[in-house]
């Protein structure tokens, strides 16, 4: 089942789901799930087959190529998995809303386009699927009307800008090496004498940077995520951002190659060190802004930008461990963020659209499964030892410290503590604390919403205890990209890379846990008591109005709130405002009076003749 087959099923699936949707809703939902699951299986089967074949011989003088190698397979399996989970989740989420056909069509189209990006063997088909993904995502972001429209518009303008830059860079390569197929493009570049032009790399960086929300180009992400429907914002921040990462890896290591990459940019300031520092900044600022957010999805959006900073940092370090860490963190972050967004979506679905952290509370009593999965996701995001997040962050830190970048390591570590604070704020304000009156008899989320959460939770814990499973695949990928492959045992790393054995960590933890529970068993079991019976200095707690945490980190907000407004966003908005002013100014040229129009014609004529006599033309 070659890459071409996968793509055809994906795109046909999107089209058919719309067609079936016109007949009956049930049929469309079943069909959507079947297609997604089928895609996951198809990709899983093609593990390990390296195939490259032309699927469209002569498109405007170039032939389009599809390729399936380890890197492509790794990203494809992530994309299809998260896509499948979000489709399953959106069964209940979208039922009853209007324009369901459009929603399913756009969601499956975005997933198909992402698969296309990942499987494409040459930069032109990469660009085509990239554009399809962008405008399909635009349609889905502005699905929920209201504020979603400006969010969608802001997203689409920035992504068009990015793709124009990418088109320029793409065609510059074609002009110089007159082929766009990645494999032989890479050979030609490496054999070419001169270095790789910096502006081409910067143009690619602009295009991919906008999509994966690096610091100066991140402003579209918080609005787009908080306005998009939850299942799609899981896809959006789970894998759509990772396409930017895939682009960076493809260009930096696939096309340009490691040896040449290290010389790109001025001798005293290499491109990849700038990328490292950008990644470090992208960790710090968004994490502290996420801390002060009150809307759950906006908090998660800012945290996505923060976590992307980790991946960029690891890619920028340009060592085998760093790249392995980056790839593993990409997979982990996709799973965590999908889980957390779906959990927020489940809560939003159940409480009728309430996402404001100051008005929720105590949902652990009504939605225990959702809380458990969200807890696992949160712990994974922080990188607590028994979750997969820990292993990938350990890799990143190890390479940062041994390569001698202590300040970058500092930024990453402080980012982890920022992650703890905002994950705890999310979990506390939504699930812990006192259950408000109006949610007293809220029943749990439907099974179709809990299933994706449980699957993600299971993956996090499984890869946390046995990181060898993904690491063996990632080790292979790192080998293909021009580094020495990372060898990993099933439960961690051998002595030569730096000892890490998750299994004895887990065994020690389980043992101590058992001892403590046994010790605790001696004492009498405590008496469960209602939430109103809490100590309030002797007064009986007034029911309901008693305890909602508002502005959870108020002291920090008072200290750093002023500095942490999103300056970059304000700069963009003021620039857009000025641009509108200029456009209105330009509109005045057409005064509506014929005499001025005639004067224009005569002016051009005189200019032409004058220019000729002056010898310019």
């Amino acid at each position: 089942m070659s890459a071409q087959g996968i793509l055809i099923t994906a795109f046909a699936g999107a089209g058919l789901s719309y067609a079936l949707g016109l007949t009956s809703a049930r049929l469309r939902e079943v069909f959507a799930i079947v297609v997604s699951v089928l895609l996951v299986c198809l990709i899983a089967i093609t593990h390990g087959q390296g195939a490259e074949h032309v699927y469209y011989p002569d498109f405007l003088g170039l032939d389009l190529v599809l390729r399936m190698d380890a890197l492509a397979w790794f990203f494809a399996i992530t994309v299809s998995m998260v896509g499948c989970l979000s489709v399953i989740f959106s069964l209940h989420y979208v039922r009853g809303k209007e324009k369901e056909n459009f929603y399913y069509f756009a969601l499956l189209l975005v997933n198909a386009a992402m698969l296309g990006i990942v499987l494409s063997g040459d930069l032109l088909s990469f660009f085509i699927f990239w554009e399809i993904m962008s405008w399909a995502a635009f349609l889905l972001i502005s699905y929920k009307r209201g504020r979603a429209l400006d969010a969608g518009l802001k997203y689409v303008i920035m992504s068009i800008l990015g793709s124009c830059a990418m088109l320029l860079a793409l065609l510059y390569l074609y002009a110089n090496y007159n082929t766009l197929v990645i494999s032989d493009l890479a050979q030609q570049i490496r054999s070419a004498a001169g270095g790789f032009p910096l502006w081409v790399m910067l143009a690619f960086a602009l295009g991919f940077g906008i999509k994966c929300a690096l610091i100066p180009l991140h402003t579209w992400l918080p609005d787009a995520h908080s306005e998009a429907p939850s299942p799609f914002s899981a896809v959006l921040s789970g894998i759509l951002i990772k396409m930017g990462i895939y682009g960076f890896i493809l260009v930096m290591y696939g096309v340009v190659g490691l040896k040449l990459l290290l010389e790109v940019g001025a001798p005293w300031l290499h491109f990849h060190t700038v990328l490292c520092w950008l990644g470090a900044i992208t960790i710090l600022i968004p994490t502290f802004i996420a801390l002060l957010q009150d809307d759950a999805k906006r908090l998660l959006a800012w945290s996505s930008i923060g976590q992307i900073g980790y991946i960029m940092l690891a890619i920028g370090v340009a060592t085998s461990l760093g790249l392995a860490g980056a790839l593993f963190h990409t997979l982990n972050h996709a799973v965590f963020k999908a889980l957390l967004f779906l959990a927020v979506g489940a809560v939003e679905y159940k409480t009728g659209g309430v996402r404001d952290l100051n008005r929720l509370g105590g949902l652990i009593r009504r939605m225990p499964v959702t809380f458990a999965c969200a807890l696992i996701g949160g712990l994974g995001l922080i990188g607590v030892p028994l979750t997969s997040g820990f292993v990938s962050k350990w890799l990143i830190y190890k390479t940062l410290i041994t390569e001698g970048h202590p300040f970058l390591a500092l930024a990453a570590l402080v980012g982890t503590w920022g992650a703890i604070l905002y994950v705890y704020k999310l979990l506390h304000n939504m699930f812990l604390g006192q259950l408000p009156e109006k949610y007293a008899n809220l029943e749990a989320a439907p099974f179709s919403m809990q299933l994706p959460l449980m699957i993600c939770g299971f993956i996090i814990v499984l890869f946390g205890i046995l990181p060898g499973i993904p690491l063996s695949v990632i080790g292979g990928i790192v080998g293909t990209l021009g580094f020495e492959p990372v060898t990993a045992t099933l439960t961690g790393f051998g002595p030569q890379i730096g000892p890490l054995n998750t299994l004895n960590l887990c065994a020690a933890f389980a043992g101590v846990l058992l001892v403590i529970v046994a010790f605790r068993g001696i004492a009498a079991r405590p008496k469960p008591v209602s939430q109103d019976d809490s100590y309030a200095a002797g007064a009986a707690a007034p029911a309901g109005k008693y305890h909602h945490t508002v502005r959870f980190y108020d002291p920090l907000e008072r200290m750093t709130g002023g500095y942490l407004r999103d300056w970059v966003d304000q700069f963009y908005l003021s620039a857009a405002g000025k641009a509108k002013g200029v456009f209105n100014g330009v509109r005045r040229i057409y005064t509506g009076d014929v005499r001025t129009y005639v004067m224009y014609i005569v002016a051009l004529l005189t200019f032409l003749i004058f220019a000729h006599t002056a010898g310019w033309l």
């Binding site: 652990i364 030892p385 350990w394 300040f407 979990l427 960590l505 101590v512 403590i516």
Partner: protein, 307 residues
């Protein structure tokens, strides 16, 4: 085989020594107030009394959070070499570092965040505003002291170019104490020690007068006992880490415990006399003086290394 003994022994030592240190701290404070104070083993009595009480529970997470915290800190103890130089020789020289071969200082740093997180989750579920305010203060204080603490650890790691704790201890045996080679980091670490232990100058997390002992407001009976034990092991953990990083970690267990005692006495002296600071001032202090010193030290080490 000896590893199994060490695996069991190090948490036990941590518990016992921690509890005794707590009793000692109450004795020291009493002596400073010119009164007799309870016997050294008073915390043991308290724990037994609490275990015999039957308190209330606000839900499963309320109970599990505390267990999670205690388990986290006990596992962390296993990763710290408690005295002794050779990498994990058998018990002969009183050397204790069972698991420190798997992961080194990075794992210790990450395991240390399990304790506060577990307690925070448990307290969060207790639906008591005092607990929520306490937890918010605890996390903010943690953020405050983490910046200098990470700077300190990174300075030490880049000074010795290794992430394994046992190597750091071994290097200190030959090349002299860490406090001499990275002096500013040692000072910075000592400045934030009270914040990490949650003792008097920075004891705003479980302030009995203001927020009815913060996160522990709703805990009673056996959960409170577990919290006391967690407090003890956390105390032992932090001071053991300080000793390992800066005071050469001790040739065998006895010298190690002695050094810990000295450091503990110093911290208790400060604890006995200082009043409590507000959370904003705590953050401002931690980000100004200790962070500045640690940053300076890191710059020096980086320059000396790369230069």
């Amino acid at each position: 085989m000896t590893r199994i003994i060490q695996l069991v022994l190090s948490p036990l030592i941590a518990l016992v020594v921690g509890v005794l240190l707590l009793g000692l701290s109450r004795k020291i404070i009493a002596r400073i107030h010119r009164r007799y104070g309870p016997p050294i083993y008073q915390p043991v009595i308290d724990v037994i009394r609490m275990m015999s009480q039957r308190s209330i529970s606000h839900g499963s997470l309320f109970d599990l959070g505390v267990v999670f915290a205690l388990a986290g800190s006990l596992v962390t103890v296993m990763f710290i070499p408690l005295g002794g130089t050779q990498a994990c020789q058998p018990f002969a020289h009183g050397v204790l570092c069972p698991l420190s071969s798997s992961g080194g200082l990075l794992v210790v740093m990450y395991l240390m965040l399990l304790g506060p997180l577990g307690l925070a989750l448990g307290a969060g579920d207790s639906a008591n505003p005092n607990a929520s305010i306490g937890v918010s203060r605890k996390l903010l204080l943690a953020l405050a002291y983490e910046v200098p603490f990470l700077l300190v650890i990174l300075a030490v790691m880049s000074h010795y170019e290794t992430i394994s704790l046992t190597e750091i201890v071994a290097r200190q045996q030959q090349a002299g104490w860490g406090a001499l080679s990275v002096p500013l980091s040692a000072v910075a670490a000592f400045l934030i020690l009270p914040a990490m232990l949650g003792v008097r100058p920075f004891d705003l997390v479980s302030a009995p007068q203001e927020i009815a002992s913060g996160p522990m407001a709703e805990y009673g009976g056996r959960s409170l006992a577990l919290i006391k034990l967690y407090g003890a092991t956390h105390l032992f953990l932090v001071i053991a880490l300080f000793v390992d990083l800066f005071l050469g970690g001790g040739v065998n267990l006895a010298t190690f415990l002695l050094k810990m005692l000295i450091v503990f006495m110093a911290v208790e002296m400060i604890n006995a006399v200082l009043p409590r600071v507000k959370i904003e001032d705590a953050i401002k202090f931690c980000w100004k003086w200790p962070a500045g010193l640690a940053l300076l030290q890191m710059a020096i080490t980086v320059l000396s290394k790369s230069g």
